[in-house]
């Protein structure tokens, strides 16, 4: 028999603050429960039929009382709202940390596929080093999933067709549950895994470990290298150039990532992960002004995994990725 758990592990930079907020809410709830339940009990026992009590009531309304129990709860709500909102913005604002470990996550019925920038691919397991910013770039291959690690107090829906990111800093060594929190079909409850938080030196060792368990693939190349290989294999290089110079009729990709692009329909968009993915799958959706609609769609020819590798490579052309 397992010991009865009462409180989840605190294993990320967010966990403690979420817990404090939760405890504050419990306090507020206890306070309001008291001021509701105690009067109810008093009223019922004092004014129960058959008891002797003063029942001469003049007014059935009292404006001051109404205002008091309207305004006091409202004012108590404000600081809770603000604190929770601030923490929420911290969680979900894009994190631009140097030296962040950028993990790509693909959710599919019914497994998690995670890849480290150095190429290691894991299924339903994620190994991360203690104390380092981990940034997840997530996409689903089919239906909506949700990446949930209770010990980290993080959850983010993993949606088909667009990237969503989440960051955290692991703060405690250990093994923690990874759950899919959004119902995704038959084996939704089997779409679970484990996050291993390791000492940085152990993580480095783990990356070099030749003894890979079942379901884990040792990749010979990093994500960037895989992207570079794909870039050639798919023939991207026949129309795109990755260096500044070369033939002028080739579309240059160096330095593009992270800049603003003027599109043929007049929109201005940031060249981010989403932009690159759309350009590969549906090139006509986001065609840069002045370019001819000649790029074919690569839908069905490259999968989400390969798109992520291509993105890593294209990012690296702008100095966006360290690996």
């Amino acid at each position: 028999m397992n010991p009865i758990p009462v409180w989840p592990d605190q294993a990320s930079n967010f966990a403690q603050e979420v817990d404090l907020l939760y405890i504050l809410l419990i306090g507020i709830s206890a306070f309001f429960s008291l001021i509701v339940f105690v009067p109810i009990i008093i009223m019922v026992s004092k004014y129960r039929m058959g008891t002797k009590a003063n029942r001469k009531l003049v007014h059935h309304h009292n404006l001051k009382l109404e205002l008091a129990w309207t305004l006091i709860p409202m004012m108590m709500g404000v600081p809770v709202f603000l604190w929770a909102a601030k923490l929420f913005v911290d969680m979900y604002q894009p994190m631009e940390a140097k030296n962040a470990l950028e993990i790509s996550v693909i959710g599919k019925q019914w497994m998690w596929q995670l890849q480290h920038p150095t190429g290691q691919r894991e299924n339903n397991e994620l190994h991360v080093p203690l104390g380092r910013v981990v940034k997840l770039t997530m996409i689903s291959q089919d239906v909506i999933h949700s990446f949930y690690v209770p010990a980290f107090r993080i959850k983010k829906d993993v949606i088909p067709g667009s990237y969503h990111s989440q960051w955290f800093i692991p703060t405690k060594e250990g093994k923690y549950h990874l759950f899919c929190a959004e119902y995704c079909g038959t084996d939704h409850s089997k779409m679970i895994g484990t996050v291993f938080v390791m000492k940085p030196e152990d993580y480095e060792k783990w990356l070099k470990n030749e003894q890979w368990g079942i379901g884990n693939l040792r990749r010979a190349e990093t994500m960037k290298e895989a992207g570079e290989r794909l870039f050639t294999e798919l023939g991207c290089n026949s129309c795109h150039t990755v260096s500044g110079g070369g033939r002028t009729d080739k579309v240059p990709l160096a330095g593009v990532f992270g800049t603003e692009r003027l599109l043929s329909d007049g929109r201005r968009v940031l060249a981010d992960e989403e932009y690159v993915r759309t350009s590969i799958y549906e090139p006509d959706q986001m065609r840069v002004a002045g370019h001819n609609p000649i790029m074919p769609s690569f839908k069905g020819r490259v999968d989400e995994q390969q798109v992520l590798e291509l993105i890593t490579y294209i990012k690296s052309l702008s100095g966006g990725s360290k690996q």
């Binding site: 009223m43 009590a53 239906v143 107090r153 929190a181 079909g185």
Partner: protein, 552 residues
């Protein structure tokens, strides 16, 4: 409340013929346009749906006794919670109080002969029942495994189950909701008896009026949304599935634009019932009548601007999240106003602890817990952790079962003598109220704890450390089921063997108590005229003997 112009013997005359025994043929029931008979038809329909939805809950709780998914298959489990949610939300909770108690009482409370559109009222019941049977058939025969939320693209592209048929049923039943809402709005506006001004209306009318507004405004959005799911599924036209060029989050916005207000369709009528019960069983006017009335309208209004709190983790912009969070906090205000005013209604009253009052006090306790845990979920960063866990399950069951069903049962017991002409056994009533209260808390309190521990919802199998809480919850569910079964049993028993009810067994105020039980087909044997405020309960006459005794 009204003055009965000389009409001697009206009670006697009505004892012979009333709406129940006026005609006996099946046809006279199936083609009735009497709002009271239609209410009974609804009561029968929703009881059947309640039993179907409830037995699925029993199956779910039995499966979750052990961590392994060993009782039924994953697909069967997913279908079970879908039947549970779809049936109990669309075919029990949404129509429960408005279509049964509302249909029966709204015309009587305002002193009208019937609702404004009597035949439309019957059409509503047919739409509802046909939609219900249709949906239940395809849920039970083919099965649907999307959950009651029908999230895309799972529902529109991936599920291999009969989604289109199921949403068609809900679509059909939606028109019943719209027609009923429309009927109530017109009835309250146009059919009030002379002297029945807006601020003399019982608060049950105010809250059902607010509910009717939500039904009319919200339900069409649900109908359109489900229609689009069907269009995408059948026609492969990209609306929600990104693989076809659609947007899956668009579905969530549209779905919750109805389905959040739907929570208020379920809870507002229950709040109306509680106002009536607190007044009657405290022998007092409802404290702060205006505030309670306006808070119903405020809740109806706010219900339409908080849908985004279901999407905090879905990737909507953080600023949208902040706006929806702030608005969701505001919902606490009119809810708290009601709870405080109901409590104050007992002040200097005479509290009678009959079963309807026990349900009412149970409602106060459970609704307060449900409301307060709503604050946790309105708090953005905390919701990120709690979203889609058992904490959410526990929270909305406290509102929708602890709140709405306690209110429904309280109201059903209160008006049972009026509707059937029979008293239920009072001791049994008290026993069942207590059993349901205890069973409910035992079922759902542990779910808050395992929710914070991270137990996700809709899991057929789960990690073993949560087992102790699941076992507690399943134990509570068995108590709860016993309570509901017992209630159904003695209410049915009372139809034949219950004591005959007088016109006003609770000494309650309100026009519906001034006509015989059960009422005549035309509701009143006279034309009611209203002179008094609502809830004009007199302070009890002091018993001089007892007073003397106390002094001595």
């Amino acid at each position: 409340m009204s003055q009965v112009a000389d009409y001697p013997g009206s009670v006697h005359a009505a004892e012979k013929t009333n709406y129940l025994n006026a005609e006996h043929s099946i046809k006279s029931w199936l083609l009735t346009v009497d709002h009271k008979r239609i209410a009974i038809l609804y009561l029968i329909s929703i009881t059947v749906f309640f039993i179907i939805g409830g037995s699925m809950a029993a199956l779910i709780r039995a499966e979750l006794l052990t961590p392994a998914g060993d009782l039924i298959s994953s697909d069967a489990y997913n279908k079970a919670f879908t039947i549970h949610g779809v049936t109990l939300i669309f075919f029990f909770l949404v129509p429960s109080i408005p279509a049964v108690l509302g249909n029966f009482l709204i015309p009587m409370m305002i002193g009208a002969r019937d609702v404004a559109f009597t035949r439309l009222n019957l059409v509503s019941w047919y739409l509802f029942t046909i939609g219900g049977i249709f949906t239940i058939c395809c849920l039970v025969v083919g099965g649907v495994d999307t959950g009651w939320t029908f999230y895309t693209p799972y529902s529109s592209s991936f599920s291999n189950t009969s989604v289109v048929l199921a949403v068609t049923g809900v679509f059909i039943a939606g028109f019943s909701s719209i027609a009923t809402g429309l009927n109530f709005i017109v009835t309250v506006h146009k059919m009030r008896a002379p002297g029945m001004t807006w601020f003399k209306l019982p608060l049950f009318i105010w809250s059902n009026y607010a509910t009717a507004c939500i039904m009319v405004l919200g339900t069409p959005v649900l109908a359109i949304t489900l229609f689009l799911v069907g269009v995408e599924r059948v026609g492969r036209i990209g609306i929600f599935d990104p693989a076809l060029g659609g947007d899956p989050i668009l579905f969530q916005h549209l779905f919750w634009f109805y389905s959040h207000p739907a929570v208020y369709i379920m809870i507002l009528p229950s709040m109306g019932v509680i106002s009536e019960l607190m007044a009657c069983f405290s022998r007092n006017r409802v404290f702060g009548y205006d505030f309670v009335a306006y808070s119903s309208l405020a809740l109806a209004g706010l219900s339409f601007v908080v849908w985004g709190h279901h999407l905090f983790t879905s990737g909507q912009s953080v600023y949208a999240g902040m706006a929806f969070s702030a608005l969701s906090f505001l919902v606490a205000i009119p809810s708290a106003v009601k709870v405080f005013n109901w409590t104050a209604t007992m002040y200097k009253g005479t509290v009678v602890l009959d079963s309807p009052m026990l349900y009412s006090l149970g409602f106060l306790g459970l609704f307060t817990i449900g409301g307060l845990t709503g604050l946790f979920l309105a708090s953005l960063a905390v919701d990120v952790h709690l979203q889609d866990t058992y904490f959410v399950i526990a929270h909305f069951h406290y509102i929708m079962v602890g709140g709405a069903i306690m209110g429904f049962l309280g109201g059903l017991h209160f008006w049972w003598p009026k509707m059937t002409g029979r008293m239920y056994p009072e001791t049994f009533g008290k026993l069942s109220a207590l059993t349901i209260f205890i069973g409910f808390n035992l079922t759902f309190m542990p779910q808050f704890i395992m929710g914070y521990l991270g137990m996700p919802r809709r899991y057929h199998a789960y990690v073993p450390e949560f087992q102790v809480y699941h076992v507690l919850s399943s134990a509570g569910a068995s108590v709860l089921i016993a309570g509901y079964a017992f209630t159904i049993a003695y209410l049915l028993w009372s139809l034949r063997y219950g004591e005959k009810a007088s016109a006003n067994p609770w000494a309650a105020k309100g026009l519906e108590w001034e006509t015989p039980s059960p009422p005549p087909t035309e509701n009143f044997n006279y034309k009611p005229v209203v002179h008094e405020e609502a809830y004009a309960y007199e302070p009890p006459v002091e018993d001089p003997e007892e007073e003397a005794h106390e002094l001595a």
